[in-house]
Symmetry: C2
Subunit: 468 residues, 2 copies
Amino acid sequence: MTEPLVVIGGDAAGMSAASKTKRDDPDREVIVFEKGEWVSYGACGLPYYVKGDIESLEDLVSVPAESFVEERGIDLRTNHEVTSIDTEARTVTVAGPDGEFEQSYGDLLVATGARAVEPPFEGMGLDGVFTLHDMEMAASVRRALGLDAPGSRQEGDGPRGDASADGAPESVAIVGGGYIGIEMAEAFREHDLDVHVFEMLPHTLQPFGAEAAATVEEHLVEQGVDLHLDTAVDGFVGDERVEAVAVGDEEVPVDLVLVGVGVRPNVELAEAAGIETGPTGAIATDQYGRTNVDHVYAAGDVAEATNAVTGEPDHVPLALTANRAGRAIGATLGGEPTPVGEIVGTAVVKAFDLEVARAGLVDEAEAREAGFDPVSITIEAESRAHYYPGGSSIQVTMLGDRGTGRLLGASMVGREGVAKRIDTVATALHTELSVERVSMLDLSYAPPFSPVWDPVLTAAKVLAGKLE
Amino acid sequence: MTEPLVVIGGDAAGMSAASKTKRDDPDREVIVFEKGEWVSYGACGLPYYVKGDIESLEDLVSVPAESFVEERGIDLRTNHEVTSIDTEARTVTVAGPDGEFEQSYGDLLVATGARAVEPPFEGMGLDGVFTLHDMEMAASVRRALGLDAPGSRQEGDGPRGDASADGAPESVAIVGGGYIGIEMAEAFREHDLDVHVFEMLPHTLQPFGAEAAATVEEHLVEQGVDLHLDTAVDGFVGDERVEAVAVGDEEVPVDLVLVGVGVRPNVELAEAAGIETGPTGAIATDQYGRTNVDHVYAAGDVAEATNAVTGEPDHVPLALTANRAGRAIGATLGGEPTPVGEIVGTAVVKAFDLEVARAGLVDEAEAREAGFDPVSITIEAESRAHYYPGGSSIQVTMLGDRGTGRLLGASMVGREGVAKRIDTVATALHTELSVERVSMLDLSYAPPFSPVWDPVLTAAKVLAGKLE
């Protein structure tokens, strides 16, 4: 009999692979080891849980753990941590509630995800300093705000949780102006906190490019956010609880700190077993999600994916990539070799009243590094017909390659119609369309939804003119 | 010296071509003859003018007539009707306010547009019976509703205008359940009229397919529209004013009638001059917008375009196609041969609170006629992450070709996020992507804007499974 598929990590990639394998090959034994309590949850919803838009942590769960077990026949074991992999013997060592044991595998999927980077700041261990890397940490942040934390499976607070002996906090420092930082700024403003955002680079939202970021930053200030760009944080000051952020000679007094300076793939377990990482530091995989070791796959936030624009390995830890790769690996294991698919770095974030989106290469320097000769333009266009009420402006930055005329990428920012407009760009990038061809796409028009020339078409038209 | 470019028709295609020609070749003389009063206006906005969302007809004008003359150097002559074309002598005969004259041309663009079909119903000539084919007719409809008609350049009413001697009308029959019919239903409901929609086919919105239409129809009924499907109108009853719609043995009493049963290209002038029409009845053109006659181009609602899905000539009279073709012909005349571009039949319409969109082939019978072996699916997906508040359902119908696996088209309907989601499908159609590849596109995801698997991806995934 075939040895089981063993999956390490019970979130998007892991549970997608487990489910698809069981669906396509119901006789295959599938065991998932998840070191935490929660499986298959939407971590992207955590800022909205803190904000109060989402009632309970339970709402973020896509598929309840029982369903995986009872309906899909998956042997799902939460609170089980895989501590080592022996790729020769094809076994993993597992630490569970009842002690340590070995489990053999026929195939192994490493889906250990990523974790929030914890920079070596002084004072990272103070009470009131948080990252936002999992469900219970989001619950702790709510408790720290003096709010209830519905759905939390832990009593009381996390290690740094307790905040409110001195009453509800009035101010918060967010360290890092990325997605999480911006989304959490919105959440904290909702609870009327004074919000400071510290970003060491000249702009927030680095992957979205300077043009989109500048527009977002104006909006953040309008929303009452105290923005500290080009500002490196040195550490946090306080006795037991955080009291201030140290920045050079200055101290900015705050009641809470949220550190969101990026994520790092959890590769240590795999690396210790001889599974290779790629240039990005995440696990290197081929088009079927296979690692360098026979019968070992990797998917999700721990793994690289191929960027269709550059043709190079890339690490963009996002939910769709994880789900897609997990499902493809499941199909492959079920008997039908299925590529995990390429990415083009598509992303969108809500920044208060703005939608900010990107795909491909949006920064000239980055495009040059990837071997292109980039030309870029930034335009403003309307979201609706000029005469139709309620429209607003959409800013589009678009890059093309001078040599080939190829579309390289775009960013967009506006109050409406941005999130899904970027998908036109993403689709064009997957098929390596020229900017000229993009400018001639037959895109939808009706007065309530678009000008006759969609902003994407207008941007492509202007860029094509510059590429001639 | 080169003879002038003469353009017949001063709307989207004509003015785009005139403007682009002058921009790229400022020394070229460009003369535009427009038989009406208005040039370069957004006819798509007329239903919203009647509804009251748009204040004045003037707001619908994209570029004021003076700007074409003064800033762009175009010799624009309104109230000038071209009555014949002599393609041998390269002249047109023009009837203007000061009499008839001949004008020679070096190149000629036929951009005579389309007109509302006036079916041979008894009673079409009664007062209170309207089509909605131009600016002044929209003004007449407003007057017929007892409303002011800001921006109208005609005194009083059109030939069938006067309605309100007996007070404001209380009911209206819309004959034809196409775009205009649905948009006008919304406009009339806004003014609290009882609205009857008569459609002779089993469904409204024929180009959007039965699945989308059925969902729209439920919504129309919720909005208080009295829907008469599969119901052929026989004519209109009344003495001078319309009093009822005759349907078989029945008469449905109404105060007003709006006939919107489609448009027909204004090809008569061209045909009389030996300019050939194609299989759709519109003027046949090549990829540069050239007709069968040397130095004669056609563009806009009067001309065919090539459908990228079928590879065949098609007639989808929409604003973007007209603008694009006009601009391309201008560029070609300016010295740079530029294709007018292909269409994929992308369209979107607002139906009260719904967005309804389509691209490609959305009907199995139509796809079979075009030589494909269609397989279709219809799914429901969410517009946002399942846990994010405010989301709603999006229904996607998608067609693929069994033989090649190629995507053939899709329709979508929902309360949000539909209008621009169809552009992903449109872009994929332009590049002849397989359904499988569509299912692997890297589309944007964030909880407020989409589920992890965008509805387009989910539809493609399900359809790909059925195509295997």
